[in-house]
């Protein structure tokens, strides 16, 4: 008996080693699996997203606009879209799944003429029924696939009273009140395949989205990457790229590394400090001004920012030029007011805050804070559009310290920021986020009395905005909003810092990309060469 033991022991040891070796092989196989034959027209993007959102239509927005830009717009489409075909102009409203529309004179009825011959990528036909199916899913609490999360991203649907099918390729939306941005805001109300929803439900959509977009979802590795392949049967211009992969690389230095090592072809929010060395190494860098404000939102209901003089002091205390020029190497422009120069509502006359620390000190003293103030500021470490948040906030921290504004920085992530703001007791006096103001309908959570997460409230501002929301004339509407911007700027509701130019860097083999004056990108002309 006893000498059987060690033999067995040795055999077991060998078996163990063999298992380990086999595991290694399997793992290696896994890592290499799926790539198969070399895909030539493949673009790999290093994004600053830290995590992948749920892939269900509206929920993609939980990863911010970057989620829509790099995931949502590839797979899904709305009735309208942001038209970014002209790189010299801000994005306008363009036709998408609706090829045209009629608006009733009272502005309450929109009739959309749908594209014909559009199918979802699972073969289901896109028609009026599909539109109604989806809108019901978003709005009707009794719909089997209703998901309360989605409607929170589709504020525009709050204006919709009813949707009616006219014929197979025509639907009519009836609004409960006039809304000037209805067409503009429909751009991200995505349509998912009813067949797929019926079969797999919302959960299925979240895992395997089925839309009408130019690309088809292929696979994802949670926490790492997501891939799309070309939709060969796309109803519009079939893209040149066979495949787009988006890698999640939240760390800016790691993005640069990935680009340099050839792991990715394209990086979002390239680190400005790396531009020189990247250019020298033959990489292309792009950037274009667009409507993107990077600011600190001040908690205006609480001390010390309930005093306008303190808010103004903040705006006089910072050296925006140094940040834009020295820190960001011109990949951003200084922001002296609420509206970005690329915005439709920009007026140069509103640039009222220059760098004047003495004045800032004076204002603080006037407000009774001659000893300075201590504040805590939450900021987003990485994610959609946050630029080089840490470095910028630390620079601001140092600048503000010179006028005795002592800042404690509290880093959070993208979704953590909103979770905290939602909970209400952040313990912060200000938050640092960046967003686009091109969608005035969604300014509510930032700027509207009562609903602003930062407590901002200016009745005059709200009046101008609500008027604008129902003003259909473009020029008149722009005038109202410009005025609103001027009010908010005088109020010093935020501390305005810079406007982004969305710096990107890409390898020389990426062809056909022209950066629009927008947050949005059209991948249709992009190819690898």
């Amino acid at each position: 008996m006893h000498h059987a033991m060690p033999r067995g022991g040795r055999r077991r040891l060998l078996a163990l080693l063999a298992t380990v070796a086999a595991t290694a092989v399997v793992l290696t196989g896994c890592a290499s699996g799926g790539s198969g034959a070399a895909v030539k027209q493949e673009l790999v993007i290093g994004s600053q997203m830290a995590s992948l959102p749920s892939l269900d239509t509206g929920a993609i927005t939980s990863a911010g606009y970057e989620g829509q830009r790099l995931i949502g717009n590839l797979v899904y489409e709305g009735l309208t879209k942001r038209d970014v075909s002209d790189p010299t102009k801000p994005a306008g409203v363009g036709a998408a799944l609706a090829k045209s529309w009629d608006i009733s004179s009272d502005g309450l009825s929109y009739t959309f003429h749908l594209q014909k011959n559009v199918t979802f990528t699972d073969g289901t036909k896109f028609d009026a029924s599909a539109v109604i199916y989806n809108i019901h899913r978003y709005m009707d609490k009794n719909d089997p696939h209703y998901d309360p999360k989605l409607i929170t991203y589709y504020a525009v649907l709050a204006y919709v009273q009813d949707v009616k099918k006219v014929d197979d390729s025509t639907v009519t939306f009836t609004l409960n009140k006039p809304f000037a941005f209805f067409l503009a805001d429909l751009y991200n109300v995505y349509f998912a395949s009813p067949t797929s929803l019926d079969k797999f439900g919302s959960a299925g959509q979240a895992k395997k989205p089925v839309g009408t977009g130019p690309f088809i979802f292929d696979s994802e590795t949670p926490n790492q990457s997501i891939s799309f392949v070309k939709n060969q049967k796309y109803w519009g211009v079939v893209p040149k790229l066979d495949r787009i992969t988006v890698d999640l690389i939240p760390d800016p230095a790691a993005r640069t590394a990935a680009l340099r090592s050839g792991r990715v072809d394209w990086i979002e929010a390239a680190q400005p400090d790396d531009f020189t060395s990247l250019k020298a190494a033959g990489f292309a860098t792009t950037g274009n001004s667009f409507d993107w404000e990077w600011s600190w939102q001040l908690m205006t209901q609480e001390k010390p920012f309930n005093d306008i003089r303190v808010r103004q002091a903040m705006n006089f205390a910072i050296d925006r030029d140094a940040i834009a020029k020295d820190l960001l190497h011109g990949t951003a422009t200084p922001a002296y007011q609420m509206m970005a120069p690329a915005s439709l509502y920009y007026d140069k006359a509103n640039n009222i805050y220059n760098y004047d620390p003495a004045k800032a000190k004076q204002l603080l003293a006037d407000a009774g804070y001659s000893g300075g103030i201590d504040i805590t500021v939450g900021y987003i470490t990485s994610g959609s559009g946050s630029m080089q948040a840490k470095a910028m906030d630390e620079a601001l921290q140092a600048q503000l310290a010179k006028v005795n504004i002592r800042v404690t920085l509290a880093p959070v992530d993208f979704s953590g920021m909103y979770a905290k703001l939602g909970a209400g007791n952040t313990g912060w006096q200000a938050a640092n986020q960046a967003f686009s103001l091109e969608q005035p309908s969604s300014w509510g959570w930032t700027l509207q009395c009562g609903s602003s997460l930062f407590g901002y409230c200016n009745k005059g501002f709200d009046d101008l905005r609500s008027q604008a929301l129902v003003t259909t004339d473009d020029a008149a509407r722009a005038k109202l909003l410009t005025e609103a911007g001027s009010l908010q700027t005088k109020d010093a509701g935020w501390m305005y810092v810079v406007n982004d130019t969305a710096p990107r860097a890409m390898s020389a083999s990426v062809k056909g990309y022209v950066q629009p004056k927008s947050w949005w990108i059209d991948f249709n002309n992009v190819s690898m060469g």
């Binding site: 033991m5 793992l27 995590s51 749920s54 939980s62 409607i151 926490n223 790691a254 792991r263 990485s382």
Partner: protein
Amino acid sequence: MRHNRLVRFIGSRLLLTVITAFFVSMIVFFAVRAVPGDPALNVLGLQSTAADREALRRVMGLDQPLIVQFFNWLGHAITGDFGYSYSQGRPVASVIGPALGNTLLLGLAASILAVIIGLAMGNAATSRWRGLRRTTDWIEAVFLSAPQYTVALILLICFAVLLPLFPAGGVSTRGNGSVTDIGSHLLLPAVALALAPGAQMARSLKTSISTLQATELLPSLRARGLSPLRITVHAHHNALPPMVTVLGIQVGTMLGGALFVENIFSIPGLGALVVQSVALRDYTLIQAVSLLIAVIFIVVLLLADLLNALLDPRIRVGQL
């Protein structure tokens, strides 16, 4: 009789492992639960009403006493259900899977390297040449105390930035999953992880061999006229059980080091996932990954003990 002894040993060791794992999961759960925050809000988002959140909290069992919540969580975790990661928008289990594979791959590479380093340095440290011994002592001192992330950064800067011999990150090149490609990606991070464990194993080997020298075993073997090769085999056979134990313990060091090293080399493994979920403040994910890492470590320690029981006849059938 002898079998019984081994079975008893394995049984008691398994029991101990289960108990340890239980307390470990307790620490993980309560440490993370002590962080303020409302999971319901994380799930429902900003626009949700207080009533909705309250309802969800009931559904999620958050209204129950903490200890009940703990056992619920543990019960689910045992069945592989680690809850829902709001930052990733999917069940935690589906996030962990691929990360686990990468970490195991890296860990395996680092362990193999550590064994090689340990054997080489251990033998150098007991060599007959004083110069070699002293040099090895110095190298060992450096390896033992150099934090893994500093090694990782130095390697990265030297061999991926200044002298781009190796890729700066990732697990494999796009469209290339060959062993050499994965190897070239994993080499630098694996070296960064393997130095300290390797030096620890070398130290263990050195101690074993000098202990054998001090007792009468090695002199006796020499007195039997055995060839150096046979003596080396004897010595290493005797040194193996403690080395296995050291390797088991060092896996903990590697798992800890992986937190930073995976980050530095952009390897999407468990370590990077922990750091990321800390940055995202995704507590469900932190709980799950921390528990997983701790459990991996406990299991490795168990395996090391069991392996020792097979390797060492004194444990296998003996008085211990």
